[in-house]
Structure formats: structure tokens, C-alpha cells
Symmetry: C2
């Protein structure tokens, strides 16, 4: 007795991965194998706690994002991407949000000498292309799910963070995502709400050259990225301003990094949006939902 | 200053992944997202120790292989594969073998109602195709590495485990791998040297319907797989015979599984063979070599 709904979702996931890789490969990106444990990982500004293991007399974090490894990788190849499994131990109550798994996969990419504008264009291209492929190749699966997936109209609108906050109040993402009919970019986050590696606009202190994309229909955050800080002095200053331990992140400063920009897009949330699913849990055969025990 | 050798290896890895996926997709396989933490994972017969984290009042193993999740997945889709990151905490001395990383990626696949013969044919097809693609698409990279990668001649010879052991003695894999000019299959492992999930031949008690592939030129083990035990009574018996705790693996018995066969092939070892590299460490930008401390 095959679960047709589950099979349809898994097939959509498969075509999504293929469509993304096909576009990136055509643009000259090289796929890296993921790093899932490392002595240093993304500190993340929100409430996530990180999982650690001890091995060979050292502490290893399970990857929360491959940001630092991506930045180092573009020393060797100028366009790279990775299907990166991440573990973020979110509060158990977030299990009901419909948007959180504590084990999930990000399509994470980085481009040497790229600007935020390049990344906005690439993000739009990627999303538009994936929706096209799913509409073409998965009409039977969309039908099984009862999903009417409409074509995306690019370019997507760009709204500065401060403007969105003024209009919709704090934590505007959810309300804004419910109101829009096409994805929308949030740009220019204030430095205090984001991680230290997002690049500060040299001409507007305190404003970052970064971006988030929101899905329409209330599906929330799609992708997150921007230009990166690459000057050791500036990185040191940002680490200090965020109250992080410079000893912990010191190894990062020792690694040369060229200017770069990139983003990460969560695969389960993307498939949730494509399939019109109530909860990301449905995207996985063995979903890791915060606070829910499991046997497999 | 770009590291041409490293860039060549990363490009070969990228084309390897693409060639493998392209073939599998053409044969109707669906790609699953990997599971990197789970309450149960492959017990493995050799000396590996497993990494664990604690989260949400539960213990989670870092995946040593996706065997049990693959077997459950073929309930939903009949041909599946996954690029599966594995963590196996091998003894520190194994770091010098040239073949061991404690974090690595397996291309792991499983097919419902398949036989070992199907998997022998698929494994050959996959290897032959990948070598062809690398020779075609990466001649410049092979040149950078000074690698003369010759075409593989299929079908590969098949040698029963007992015959190989008789001829080459215990731990024959290394010596045999050095002697051969094409890959060679080792089949019919004795039950006591393998995991409980490898299927026992109903007509030859104690002999398994499984296989390993050895690379030529001393590159050692390439892939490992076979038919799986799927009857609860037989699985219970095998768990008991191996002295494993049936309570720990009890959850597995509760999950229905159809007959299936499959295999896993280590990507780093494959790229090491393709590129003619002295050590698998070279395949990764951030290699996890047993016993070697690292800052990134």
C-alpha cells in the first residue's frame, strides 16, 4: 500500500534538487561535498542551540550553516554550492510553527567577487526556474497534492527592513508573507539583528548589504544571504560588537577570504511552498520536529 | 594564488556526482535528502565507534550508514538513492591508511524486490559510466594530477570470499587490490564477518547474498552491499546470533520492510581512485582525518 501523497512529495523534492543543480551547473558552479561537523560553525543570532560531539580530543559542532567553509572554498573555485545538512536545536515549541525541523538541508552557495545585486538576480532566477520545472515535470504530483502552483513573476519587489518594520511592526515576516502574491525581498537589515559576517554597507554604517526572500501565501522565509565581511579588521570589530568570543572565532580571521556573496535556501521549506503543504514535516520520511520523539 | 591541484580534484568530484545522478535518474531512481542524526544507525562489525548527541530528551547517533532508513524508504518509492554524509570514529592510527576519513559521503542506494545480481550489474554500470564521464569531461584535470585513468572492462570478475581468503589469507583485500588491473567483486561473505541485515542465502546457511567491490591499483574497497534480510523472524535470529541488544534494534522489527537490495559507494574513495591520489584527505577541502586536529 503505497502512500501516494508521500511519494508525490518525494518526487517533487527530487526534481527540485535536479532543477537547482542543473541551473547552477550551467552557470559554472561546482558542487562541494558537505561539511557536517566542524570546530567552528555559524553562531546564528536567534535562539538556536548547537549540537556538539567530542572526538579525537576536540569538540565538534554539527553544522548550523556552512558559511565559513563556503567563504574559504571560494579561494579555490569562484562559484561553489553544496547541499548542506544542518542541525539547529530550536525550542520544542517551534515544532508547531509548520516551518521548523531541527535537521534540514540547505542549498548553500557562494560566489567570489559577487555583489548583493548578483545574488538577488540569481535567487530570482533559481526560484522562477524551479517553479517552472515543477509545473512542467510534476503536474501529476501537484494534482495528487491538490496544489495550484502559479508561475512566479520576477523581478520580485525589494523592501528595506526598516520600511517593512515601520509598516507591519516587529516580526513582520509572517504577516507580510501572508499578504503578498509573489515572493518579496527584504534588504538592508540593521547590523544588530544579523550575524557578524554579513557585510556592512561602507556608505551607510549599521546597514547591511544582505537580503532575505519571503514566500507568498504565508509560507514565510525562503532564503537568506548577502555580501560578506572579508577584511580582518572589520570582522574583528563586528565580532566584538556582537559580544562574541574572539578567541572562538579567531581561527576564522587566520583564514584568508576574498570578497564574496552568497545565500542559503532551505530545501524542505521550498518543497513545502511548492507542494502547498501545511507543515515541513511532510517533506521528510523521517522528520526531525523539535520536541517530538521518534523511533527511526 | 589558486591551488590548481585542489581545484582539479574538486571538479572531478563534481562531475562524479553529476554522472552518478544522471545515470540513476535515467534508471528511475529518486534522490532522498540525507538523514544525519537518528535514534538508530548501522551497528557495523568493525571497530568503528559512533558519535552521539543528546537532544529533546533523546540520544541521537550521527549516521554511520543509512541502511535502515533506505530499507524503510523503498516502501514508498521502489528505487531510491541518497548522498549520505556519515561519521565513523575510526581509531586514530587509521588516519595513515590513505583510505579513512571520519566524516565522508556515501552514495547510498536501495531497490525494492531487487537481487544481488541486479546490484552487481548496476554497480558495474555506474563505475564504468563514471570513469567514461571523467575521461571525457575532465581530461585537463586528470592531466593536472598526472593521472592515466584507463577504461574499465566490465563485467568484473566475481570471487567468493572463502576462495579469496584461501588464496591470499586473512585480510586479503589490500593484497588483492594491488594485484588486479580491473575492479573485482568479492561475493558470498560468511555471516559472522558482516552485519545482521545482509541476507543469508536460504540454500546455503551461513553464506550471505552480499558483495564488495575492490578497486585495482591498491585503492582498496569501493562499494559494499547486497540483498537484505526482510523477514522479522530471520532478522531477530541474526541480531541474536551477533550478540546485539534486541531492545535497541527492536524498533527496526516494528517497521515493515519489503525485500530489497542495494549498496553504498564512498565518494571520497571513488575520487581518490579516479584521480590517482595518495590519500583520501586530498578529496576534501576540510578533511576529517582520524587523529588529526583541525581549526576549521
Amino acid at each position: 500500500m503505497v502512500d501516494e501523497r508521500k511519494a508525490a512529495i518525494l518526487r517533487i523534492t527530487d526534481v527540485t534538487l535536479d532543477a537547482a543543480r542543473e541551473l547552477l551547473r550551467r552557470k559554472g558552479f561546482v558542487e562541494l561535498l558537505p561539511v557536517i561537523i566542524a570546530p567552528v560553525t555559524d553562531p546564528l543570532r536567534h535562539t538556536t542551540s548547537r549540537a556538539t560531539i567530542r572526538a579525537y580530543d576536540q569538540e565538534w559542532y554539527l553544522t548550523t550553516s556552512m558559511i565559513f567553509h563556503k567563504q574559504a572554498a571560494v579561494q579555490v573555485l569562484d562559484k561553489i554550492f553544496c547541499l548542506s545538512p544542518n542541525v539547529r536545536l530550536e525550542p520544542a515549541s517551534w515544532g508547531r510553527s509548520g516551518r521548523h525541523l531541527f535537521e534540514f538541508v540547505q542549498l548553500d552557495l557562494e560566489v567570489r567577487d559577487a555583489t548583493r545585486d548578483d545574488m538577488l538576480a540569481l535567487g530570482e532566477h533559481l526560484l522562477v526556474r524551479i517553479v517552472e520545472r515543477i509545473r512542467d515535470a510534476c503536474s501529476r504530483e501537484l494534482n495528487t497534492l491538490g496544489r495550484d502552483l502559479t508561475k512566479l513573476r520576477a523581478p520580485f519587489a525589494r523592501v528595506p527592513y526598516r520600511d517593512a518594520e515601520e509598516r507591519y511592526g516587529k516580526g513582520f515576516e509572517e504577516r507580510l508573507s501572508c499578504e503578498i502574491e509573489d515572493p518579496i525581498w527584504i534588504v538592508d537589515f540593521p547590523a544588530e539583528v544579523r550575524e557578524f559576517y554579513d557585510r556592512e554597507d561602507p556608505s551607510r554604517p549599521g546597514v547591511l548589504l544582505d537580503m532575505d526572500l519571503l514566500y507568498p501565501e504565508g509560507y514565510g522565509e525562503a532564503l537568506s544571504g548577502g555580501e560578506r565581511e572579508h577584511e580582518p579588521g572589520q570582522i574583528r570589530d563586528r565580532i566584538r560588537r556582537q559580544g562574541l568570543d574572539s578567541a572562538v572565532y579567531g581561527s576564522l580571521l587566520a583564514v584568508a577570504r576574498p570578497p564574496s556573496a552568497g545565500f542559503g535556501i532551505g530545501i524542505e521549506r521550498l518543497v513545502r511552498f511548492l507542494g502547498g503543504l501545511p507543515h515541513v514535516r511532510e517533506v521528510r520520511l523521517f522528520p526531525r520536529v523539535p520536541g517530538e520523539p521518534t523511533e527511526m
